[in-house]
């Protein structure tokens, strides 16, 4: 319930939200957690496995129990932390992980059968029968042991990601972080101060002690105001640094608009990548629990949280509060509660010699051995004193420095006897210094001093110096602790609240020889899921150490991996949803093609027209057949701008090409075009295409659309690494030109109407031409087998030129043709695409072995002659159906007609098929020693589509094998 005066909340602004349909109100400055406690709600969730009632345990984002779903329209954000979410009007919050209602959870029965659900029960129970796992056991277990749900709708929330840079990144804005930021900022460094909370000051906002004669939170506000006024400081609140990565890069999540009711177009979160030259890590420490019977009942909380809720939010977590600790810090809670008039029913200290006094019952050298009550604490049992009525129990087992980030690069923290905790060791993350409680310095004065000192260390490494700020007066006392991990006794004592792991489970793991801490973790699931063991790791390994007879340092910790807190994948993938996944490249003819209803297909990042439907055509095949016939009888226009065009110049350009291609290009004369094949270093075909000699020492290489980037990268590699001796320069000119194929017997007529002066180019010739005075390039090359040209104009004219070409072609009985027709025509001609040169074929396989020059060296030459690449290869063949079944499918396998269609008997496969209006179904494929087997009949089996076709193997060139049409 709410205390009348305490807290950093704005009582003038009342806000409310709903939790499972009930409305709860609080104030601006509240979290959902403090609002619920103020409304006396402790039960907030159900545990993972046993569905035990669970309540808020802490006041920080490490809370293992306060995970809920946020519902907005059709969106569900799961695993939202009650302790981190600011109270915003109208939030629709629902509890998660229960069947039935939160109050009456059907699966609580799991708790009654718990002896059968102990650690490792999956592995023991669900081994047999094997097939049951996937279909029966797993779905049931998943349902029962769920966390939050997703809406299963596409994500419609906005997210954001960004880069930031600084000299010094300060993580955490408690006393150490503030002093570090001040020190770095005064030295002139570019500083980013990242704070997870929505107000700066860290733990100072939850404590009552003073710094420099002022309340700690006021002192913090003053310093933050100073920092905010400095130009070289960037303050980032609501920002959790989630990971430390190579090269001083840190990942961070900023909760941008979770605190706003209507954020408009603003994103929910921004995922930051911060590149920092140095870092002061001052993330503080987290209080840890003690394991005893029923220590997971709602109302059992961390002692620091009990006073945190009181001091920061003005919320008393109970009317009759008991406290149980093994250290001096727990006593601070007693002092703050007493000062605020909250009734303390018992103070239990496990240390017989603890130096504490107070106006409430104190039990020294005693333990809390059990908690009464089910959905809420009703009382506690104290060893030697019996049962006492209480509605809240604050527990402190000491503090664990938050060593996560310093350990993210696989460093291992060191055990410190004095504070009974792990602390980071120097240089775990290069450039990072650890300050304050995160480094094991727990006194306030020590934290202030440590912040200055660590910042100076970072500044020194950056070559920066400045006058450090004076260290204000603050409490310098060290808290004393005597380790206590578990209270001996019967019943289940909980270690990991999020994964329902008990002391018994860890002991069982040790007993079953899962003695390594990493094995224990996986056997028991301790330390997994959203909280990643923030509350339980050290306690669990202490229990393991005890069970295995080793010390804690020898037992060690599990591996700390990013992210520190859960990060929405949507934040990391911001702007990459849908079309944002990859950029789109559009040709200059794209809009016009779409206007005339051409369906577009993706080719790499490009979009190309599939076919151009005419009135009355109801099936793509009708359009495709018409377009093929049109090109073969009249003239067709196709946009081929997407093919890669690389301009290559220099005294050694010819030599460079000779080294790249298997055939020779240095002999190519200006005005001539040659087809070439290039290999990878491993001897397999990388790409093919034509290269034209534009002028002396000046070539334009054409690549396939798909491999344009790969070939460019290959050229850079060859030029920079393999042949830096060659004087050659090259650059992509793909985008400079809009290039169109003009193919068919009437192509020459069409050109004569378009060009200012049509040259009489021979087959495989090229030259400069002009269109209305605009310089263009003409190539007489053919991918259809027809008399054909490719004409390139500056891209700015692409659209109007395409329009003009279409009009001329249509007047001659021609028109545009798309990828389908282009593909049919190239199959008829046995021309290659990346369906055939798919990365596993040699030049010999595709019938180009004779092109491999014996007179020169070239990339892949030696590797191509390896044993295995030379003999018994699957070779390019053509195929056509000969039986009743005419269907051919790419990807189907060849078998002898009488062989079983099983893997061992396969002799090759098909790569491309198409319907030739002239020849019917035809295809290309690779068949073992196929060149010698033309005329043979085989069985073609498509196991996926269940089609078996009798085929005849033939030469891969179906049409005009002499190439007379293209040459004439």
């Amino acid at each position: 319930m709410r205390h009348d005066t305490k807290g950093l909340i704005d009582r003038a602004e009342r806000r409310s939200f709903t939790f499972d349909g009930n409305t709860y109100s609080g104030f601006k400055g509240d979290t959902l957690a403090s609002t619920l406690l103020a409304n006396n709600v402790h039960l907030v969730g159900r545990s993972f496995k046993y569905h035990r009632p669970r309540g808020l345990m802490s006041d920080g984002t490490q809370d293992p129990n306060g995970l809920v779903e946020l519902h907005q329209g059709n969106q569900i954000t799961p695993n939202l932390r009650l302790t981190g979410q600011e109270l915003v009007n109208g939030l629709d919050i629902r509890s998660q992980n229960h069947w039935g209602s939160l109050d009456w959870d059907v699966l609580e029965l799991n708790d009654l059968v718990s002896p059968f659900l102990s650690a490792g029960f999956y592995y023991k129970t669900f081994m047999w029968p094997k097939a049951f796992w996937e279909k029966i056991y797993e779905p049931i277990i998943r349902r029962a042991a769920g966390l939050g749900r997703l809406s299963m709708e596409n994500n419609s929330d906005r997210y954001d990601k960004a880069f930031a840079f600084c000299d010094v990144l300060v993580i955490g804005s408690g006393p150490a972080g503030i002093m570090a930021a001040l020190t770095a900022a005064k030295a002139g460094a570019q500083v980013i101060l990242a704070e997870e909370d929505f107000i700066f000051g860290g733990r100072l906002n939850s404590e009552t002690f003073e710094i420099g004669g002022k309340p700690g939170h006021i002192w913090a506000q003053d310093q933050i105001a100073k920092l905010a006024a400095m130009e070289n400081v960037r303050l980032m609140k609501r920002t959790t640094v989630t990971g430390a990565y190579d090269g001083g890069t840190y990942g961070a999540v900023e909760r941008v608009s979770h605190h706003v009711q209507d954020a408009g177009d603003a994103p929910l979160e921004t995922f930051w990548r911060i590149a920092a030259k140095g870092c002061v890590y001052a993330a503080g420490a987290m209080e840890r629990p003690i394991a005893f019977q029923n220590n997971d009942r709602p109302g059992v909380m961390m002692a620091s949280a009990v006073r945190g809720y009181l001091n920061r939010y003005g919320v008393a977590a109970g009317k009759r509060v008991a406290l149980f600790g093994n250290n001096d810090d727990a006593f601070r809670t007693a002092q703050d509660l007493a000062a605020a008039g909250v009734h303390i029913v018992a103070y239990v200290d496990s240390r017989a010699d603890a130096d504490i006094t107070g106006d409430f019952p104190i039990y020294k050298g005693a333990h809390v051995t059990n908690v009464k009550g089910r959905k809420r604490v009703e009382g506690v049992t104290i060893s030697g004193a019996g049962d006492i009525m209480a509605d809240c129990l604050g527990v402190s087992g000491g503090y664990n420095p938050t060593v996560h980030l310093p350990c993210h690069m696989n460093g291992r923290p060191q055990w410190n006897e004095q504070i009974a905790a792990f602390i980071p060791v120097p240089n775990m993350v290069p450039g990072m210094e650890v300050a304050g409680a995160a480094g094991g310095t727990f006194s306030t004065h020590g934290c202030l001093k440590s912040g200055v000192f660590r910042a100076k260390e970072v500044l020194k490494s950056l070559g920066l110096e400045g006058r450090a700020p004076a260290i204000p007066k603050a409490d310098a006392s060290q808290t004393q602790i005597r380790p206590l991990w578990t209270v001996p006794g019967k019943g289940r004592a909980w270690l990991d609240f999020q994964n329902d792991v008990t002391v018994k489970d860890v002991k069982l793991a040790a007993q079953e020889n899962f003695k390594s801490v990493e094995h224990m973790k996986r056997y028991t699931t301790q330390g997994m899921a959203p909280d990643q063991g923030k509350n339980s790791n050290v306690n669990a390994l202490a229990v393991l150490a005890d069970a295995t007879g080793r010390g804690i340092p020898e037992t060690g910790t599990t591996t700390f991996r990013p992210p520190y807190t859960p990060v929405a994948i949507a934040a990391m993938g911001a702007y990459s949803q849908g079309h944002g996944f990859a950029p789109q490249r559009f040709t200059t003819s794209d809009e016009l093609s779409r206007e005339i209803n051409a369906p577009m297909i993706e080719a790499g990042l490009w979009y190309r027209p599939s076919y151009f439907p005419k009135d009355g055509e109801t099936h793509w095949r009708q359009s495709c057949d018409r377009e093929v016939n049109m090109v073969r009888s009249a003239v067709g226009i196709a946009d081929v701008s997407t093919l890669g065009k690389i301009d290559i110049q220099g005294p050694d350009a010819g030599k460079f090409l000779d080294f790249l291609y298997i055939n020779t290009f240095s002999t190519l004369k200006p005005g001539k075009v040659r087809y070439g094949i290039m290999l990878r270093e491993d001897g397999h075909v990388m790409d093919d295409g034509t290269t034209s000699c534009i002028a002396e020492n000046h070539y334009v290489m054409t690549t396939t659309t798909a491999a344009a980037g790969q070939v460019m990268r290959h050229l850079e590699f060859v030029s920079q690494c393999l042949r830096p001796d060659l004087d050659v320069q090259f650059l992509s000119v793909t985008e400079a030109w809009a290039q169109f194929a003009v193919a068919g017997p009437k192509s020459k007529d069409l050109l004569s109407q378009v060009l200012d002066a049509a040259p009489d180019l021979p087959f495989m010739g090229c030259g400069d031409v002009a269109i209305g005075g605009v310089k263009a390039r003409l190539f007489r090359i053919s991918f259809s087998g027809e008399h054909a040209y490719e004409l390139a104009v500056p891209a700015r004219y692409g659209e109007s030129f395409f329009k003009g070409l279409l009009a001329k072609a249509e007047a001659m009985g021609g028109g545009a043709y798309g990828m389908e027709a282009l593909n049919v025509m190239r199959i008829e001609k046995g021309f290659l695409t990346h369906s055939e040169i798919h990365g596993r074929v040699t030049a010999g396989d595709v019938g180009m072995g004779m092109m491999m020059s014996k007179k020169k060296d070239f990339i892949g030459k030696t590797a191509a002659m390896r044993p295995g690449l030379m003999e018994d290869r699957e070779e390019l063949v053509g195929l056509k159906p000969v039986g009743a079944v005419k269907e051919l499918n790419a990807g189907a396998f060849f078998f002898a007609s009488d062989a079983d269609p099983i893997r061992e008997n396969q002799q090759g496969y098909t790569t491309s098929v198409g319907f030739s209006p002239q020849l019917g179904m035809i295809g290309l494929g690779f068949l073992k020693n196929g060149r010698e087997r033309h005329g043979e009949q085989l069985k073609l089996v498509d196991h996926l589509r269940h089609v078996t076709t009798q085929v005849e193997i033939c030469h891969p060139v179906f049409l005009d094998p002499e190439g007379s049409k293209a040459r004439d």
């Binding site: 603003a266 990859a582 789109q584 320069q729 000119v733 400079a736 109007s800």
Partner: protein
């Protein structure tokens, strides 16, 4: 005859103004790549012919409407003039790029979301090759913002992605503390 009509890459898509920022397309300009051959000294000849010599790595130099940008290892773009004959590979890049300028107070915040470089360190006239979203780009720091060049065919994606971030940045600036 065919009537050839020149169309810039982002024709019909720009300008757009969102919040304090404006994204505009630069008009089509004459632009040539210049990559000197081994040992060739072309700066003096360029300066004589165009008034501008080769800039340092990561820089651009401009004078009288002519500009040369460093664009890659051993490669420069001459903008606004025709290159003389040089001992260098020269290609016409005038049509190959979509060139836009993002200007306004929040432009740096937008760039921090699409480009992984520390653009705050760029001075006026500095040039960088980097990414804008998933696209490779040439980025030039201008007095009033950033000039961005991506391949012509990316124009729609460039405008779409920058718009989206401009909207987000503008909305973020309006959020309460």
């Amino acid at each position: 005859m065919i009537d050839l009509i020149a169309k810039s890459a982002a024709d019909g898509l720009l300008p757009v103004t969102i919040g304090s920022m404006t994204l505009t397309e630069l008009p089509l300009r004459e632009m040539h790549s210049i990559a000197p051959f081994k040992g060739a000294k072309v700066s003096a000849a360029l300066k004589k012919a165009t008034g501008v010599g080769l800039p340092d790595v990561g820089r651009g130099t401009a004078k009288g409407g002519v500009e040369i940008l460093w664009t890659a290892r051993g490669q420069y773009f001459l903008i606004g003039a025709t290159p003389p004959k040089l001992s260098a590979a020269i290609t016409d890049q005038s049509d190959a790029w979509c060139a836009v300028v993002l200007s306004g107070e929040s432009a740096p915040q937008v760039m921090a979301r699409v480009c992984p470089l520390d653009l705050g360190r760029m001075g006026e006239g500095d040039v960088a090759r980097s990414l804008v979203g998933h696209m490779t780009a040439i980025i030039v720091k201008r007095a009033d913002g950033f000039e961005i060049l991506v391949f012509r065919a990316f124009a729609k994606t460039l405008v779409h992605e920058l718009r989206e971030v401009m909207v987000s940045v503008t909305a973020q600036a309006a959020l309460p503390d």
